[in-house]
């Protein structure tokens, strides 16, 4: 069987920056009225000049360091010239080394990443560039009447947002590997705190596929990481089928059709586009000093791999549990904070991995922090684990309590204090209270035959005594039963 080769181009926005790449407009362009987050620079007005956001260089370099790339001595920007309405200047400021050039001017080159044990992908290049605007294609309700009424709106709020492009070598042989790699990249970006990958459109992925000696096919327009695997599987099947029928695979660009879940040939005729790259004259060369890299490396946040190792060593957790915990930074953080309160990593990790994780739907997070979706923090987890370990409650009860915490954010002991869980679980105590009342209310019991309200009267007394902490239904049952016995 011929070998499948897959390469990726991942675009991730540096969403954690305050401003865009070349102007002071806000980087968080989401949820704004169209064309309100713009200035002469990102709107490409005549006479405007790009002013480089130094923090963006720092963030992009952190990604390059995390992916083991070679860093440039002189960082430069280049213009990529092409006409498209989402580009305010009709060129994009990006980075470029002419093919075959040894001179590295991009953020990073020649890196590699082990994304699962024994699987490594080579990183070809990492570059920093500006995001274009957003096109909104409006197709009128009266779709039938051809395209004469169809129009496109342009929103430049996104134009100029800092984008890091990560290009891999075609080292993947299977769409499943791609998924694992993308999970890894997502987790790294999260750990570096440079990109909130949950935000819609903050990470995008193009892929290229070739089989055996066949031509390379690019797949663009894949909306989410989830769909990359599907698009690749479809494309591999398509190419293999063509091979079986001895049809030659054309080197082309195909678009992922999200609705029909297929790749289809791009409508525009595919000429070899000449982007006429040349050095951006408005941004002088940026010297990347060794000291800068060293300093940055030293203050880099802990990466997922380092953290997993530490979890295994420091907390004696299993490889699997550690992996699940570190996969999402917020979860790993929650674990460590809880362990500080109650020093039992085993039971805390157990609670998080086998129970809490079931409540979290990462798809629906949409960029919001975890504690906006589930009302739980380290104090809850620590207390719950302790209560079970100390045999105050059993595991079944604790699981029910967890469900309540997730919704209400109440502390476990408070829930236990006023919860029906204790009342039901302890009918022996209820009986004790009822017997006390029967002793003190002898007159009433004697009236019971004539007066049907006595049972309720007695219940009231029991409730008074227990401050309402019993199940009234159950208590009434017992009272009635006891009155029967008295007859």
């Amino acid at each position: 069987m011929s070998k499948v080769r897959i390469g990726l181009e991942i675009h991730c926005q540096l969403t954690q920056l305050k401003s865009k790449l070349f102007c002071s407009c806000i980087a968080n362009y989401r949820n704004r009225d169209p064309n309100t987050n713009i200035c002469p620079v990102c709107y490409g007005l005549p006479g405007s000049l790009p002013v480089l956001n130094k923090k963006a260089i720092e963030y992009a370099c952190m990604i390059a360091i995390a992916l083991g790339c070679d860093m440039p001595k002189n960082l430069t920007f280049a213009r990529k010239n092409y006409f498209y309405p989402d580009l305010p200047k009709n060129f994009q400021i990006t980075q470029y080394d002419s093919p075959g050039s040894d001179n590295n001017t991009c953020i990073g080159k020649s890196g590699k990443l082990e994304y699962i044990s024994d699987k490594t992908v080579r990183i070809k290049r990492i570059q920093l560039e500006e995001d274009p605007g957003r096109l909104v294609h409006e197709i009128p309700a009266s779709q039938s009447g051809g395209n004469s009424l169809a129009y496109t709106l342009i929103d430049y709020n996104r134009a100029g947002v800092a984008l890091v492009e990560i290009v891999t070598e075609p080292d993947f042989n299977d769409p499943k590997e791609v998924r694992l790699f993308l999970n890894k990249i997502t987790s790294i970006l999260e750990y570096l705190n440079v990109c909130n990958t949950n935000l819609e459109g903050s990470v995008r992925c193009d892929a290229n596929v070739s089989i055996g000696a066949g031509k390379k096919v690019e797949i663009k327009n894949v909306g989410s990481f989830k769909d990359v695997e599907k698009a690749l599987s479809y494309e591999i099947t398509r190419q293999k089928t063509m091979g079986l029928h001895e049809i030659e695979v054309k080197g082309e660009t195909r678009h992922w059709d999200d609705k029909r879940k297929i790749t289809k040939q791009s409508r525009s005729k595919e000429e070899e586009e000449d982007y006429r790259y040349f050095p951006e004259p408005d941004i002088p060369i940026i010297k990347i000093e060794n000291e800068f890299i060293l300093n940055l490396s030293s203050k880099m946040p802990e990466l997922p791999d380092q953290r997993r190792k530490r979890f295994i060593e420091n907390y004696q957790l299993s490889e699997h549990v550690s992996e699940v915990l570190i996969n999402h930074k917020e979860i790993a953080d929650l674990f460590e904070k809880a362990v500080k309160i109650y020093q039992s990593p085993k039971s805390i990790s157990n609670w998080i991995v086998s129970d809490l994780m079931g409540f979290i739907d990462y798809e629906s997070l949409e960029g919001k922090p975890l504690n906006e979706i589930i009302k739980i923090d380290e104090k809850h987890i620590a207390e719950l684990a302790r209560l079970v370990d100390e045999n105050k409650i059993n595991r079944t009860v604790a699981k029910k309590i967890l469900t309540q915490i997730v919704n209400s954010g109440e502390m476990p002991t408070r829930i236990i204090d006023r919860s029906e869980l204790t009342k039901i679980g302890d009918s022996k105590t209820i009986l004790e209270f009822i017997e006390q009342v029967f002793m003190s209310e002898k007159n009433a019991i004697n009236d019971a035959n004539k007066n049907p309200n006595v049972a309720n009267f007695l219940l009231g007394k029991v409730m008074q005594k227990t401050k309402g902490n019993i199940d009234p239904k159950k208590a009434l049952e017992i009272i009635k039963k006891k009155l029967e016995e008295h007859k």
Binding site: P40, Y43, G44, L45, P46, G47, S48, L49, P50, V51, L52, R79, N81, F83, Y84, P85, P88, K89, N90, F91, S98, I154, D274, R276, Y277, F278, P281, D282, I283, P284
Partner: protein, 496 residues
């Protein structure tokens, strides 16, 4: 008819208004009157903003009455080249593509001038997007030479030079990509300076060739030019190519005796001037004779002068046109009429057909440079043209750097020929490009250069050019002041 205000310098205007010898309103009214009389013939202005100018003048006069502080340029009336952004004042680049464009912001230089009290009277004519050497490629037609209306004013900042020479403003700003300030200054007998690359912010200057151009002042005296440079120069956070250190201290040269200036120049080591002999001799005799005369005058003032040459100049013009066109082809891509521009209904177009229709409305010279620039950047030609041009550029820069270890100032003609007639060269782009042959050197090397009026030949002005090492504007202005005093040439055209 002579008027007390004609040929007034910045200092005279400022002092006159401050000492209440006349009002700012009186001076602005005089300028408006002058424009109304003259500009029909000269065609230096694309837009005149009388109301705003008068309103600003009245505000200055009120401040004087109220004994409030006024800016050091208060009352000075300036025209601005129409490729420098002015808030809410039409900025067309003399092109249909921007014929209805009102910038929502001021260029940094304009902001600095306004902060110092300058009154902006209007926007000045130019070659479309700065591409040309005669101001003939303008949507409003050519600017005429104020000394002879049949002749070109030079370009591309023709309006900036002609308006100053004809007294339609006190001084002006131009932009110089390959000689666009110095050429018209020479043709119109005024002083024009191209500063060191990075000394003056380009924020708001509509880009033609970013790596070569600078905004430069035009005035009727070296002192006026020097005063303006002081205000507009210096670091700007909005332009990453501006220098961060401070080179912007200039003396009040007009208040100094010549002897004092000369002894200051010789203070640390003997000051040395080099005449670029080969280039001077290749110029028309009407021009070169004035260069030699100027050298003689400098020698009379005990300044050491001898002859030298630059070897790499033959690469200058092709290198300049390659780089400038390459950058232009990219810079001008944004004029697609989608976000701003002129009336052209998009109904019935698809993207690409709309682009090609709207973008076919550029003028012929602009189109020529976009084509050339696109070609030299195409894959397969990039190395052959663009890279080679960049190599030539660094070669020239390097050679000049070496020369400036020996010489403080280099002297050569600004333009090797006298002003020529309107229409004379418009059909022959190569001949036209030769106009720039001596000015592009300073743009390629990034060094400062000034054009100074030194004489007339057959009623047409002749200018010489002085160049200095990077950020040595101070020396350039000092030697220019000496020469200006010696030649004492007319800079105020009142012939029509």
């Amino acid at each position: 008819m002579t008027n007390r205000f004609q040929n007034y310098s910045i200092r005279q205007i400022h002092n006159g208004i401050k000492n209440e010898e006349f009002t700012s309103e009186e001076y602005v009214s005089y300028i408006i009157d002058r424009i109304e009389k003259k500009d029909e013939k000269i065609n230096a202005f694309i837009t005149v903003d009388k109301e705003k100018a008068l309103e600003n003048a009245k505000n200055i006069d009120k401040k004087i009455r109220d004994k409030e502080k006024i800016g050091i340029l208060a009352g000075v009336v300036m025209g601005i080249k129409d490729n420098i952004s002015t808030i809410d004042l039409k900025t067309t680049c003399a092109s249909l593509m921007l014929s209805d464009y009102y910038p929502p912001y001021d260029a940094t230089v304009v902001k600095r001038l306004k902060e110092n009290g300058v009154i902006i009277i209007g926007k000045l004519n130019m070659d479309e997007f700065g591409m040309g050497s005669t101001t003939e490629y303008s949507i409003i037609g050519p600017t005429k030479n104020p000394w002879n209306l049949d002749y070109v004013a030079g370009g591309s900042s023709g309006g900036s030079a002609a308006s100053v020479a004809s007294g339609e403003c006190t001084a002006s700003l131009g932009s110089d990509t390959g000689g666009s300030v110095r050429c018209p200054a020479s043709f119109c007998s005024v002083v024009g300076l191209k500063p060191t690359y990075g000394l003056v912010s380009r924020y708001g200057l509509v880009s033609y060739a970013n790596s070569l151009e600078q905004i430069g002042p035009v005035g009727r005296s070296v002192s006026d030019v020097s005063t303006l440079l002081k205000i507009i120069s210096g670091y700007d956070e909005k332009d990453n190519t501006t220098i961060s250190s401070d080179y912007t201290e200039y003396d009040d040269l007009d208040l100094k005796e010549t002897d004092q200036i000369i002894s200051d120049l010789n203070k640390n080591k003997p000051f040395k001037i080099g005449l670029l002999q080969d280039l001077t001799n290749k110029a028309d005799k009407e021009v070169s004779q004035y260069v030699y005369r100027s050298i003689d005058l400098l020698k009379e003032n005990h300044l050491e002068c001898d002859e030298t040459d630059i070897n790499s100049t033959e690469y200058a013009l092709p290198s300049y046109y390659t780089i400038a066109s390459a950058e232009a082809s990219s810079n001008l891509a944004r004029y697609d009429n989608i976000r701003y521009g002129f009336e052209l209904n998009p109904e019935g177009y698809e993207w690409n057909s709309y682009y090609s229709d709207s973008r076919s409305r550029f003028g012929s010279e602009v189109k020529r440079r976009i084509f050339v620039g696109t070609y030299v950047l195409s894959s397969g030609y990039y190395g052959k043209y663009y890279m080679k041009a960049q190599k030539a550029k660094s070669m020239i820069k390097h050679e000049l750097k070496t020369l400036f270890q020996e010489y403080d100032i280099l002297v050569l003609p600004t333009v090797p020929i006298l002003p020529f007639k309107i229409g004379e060269k418009i059909d022959d782009p190569l001949k036209m490009y030769l106009t720039d042959i001596y000015t592009v050197i300073a743009n390629l090397a990034g060094i400062p250069a000034i054009s100074l009026p030194v004489g007339f030949s057959g009623g047409l002005p002749v200018g010489i050019q002085l160049m200095a090492d990077e950020f040595k504007e101070k020396n350039l202005l000092a030697v220019s002041t000496i020469l200006e005093r010696m030649v004492n040439i007319k800079k105020y055209a009142d012939v029509f």
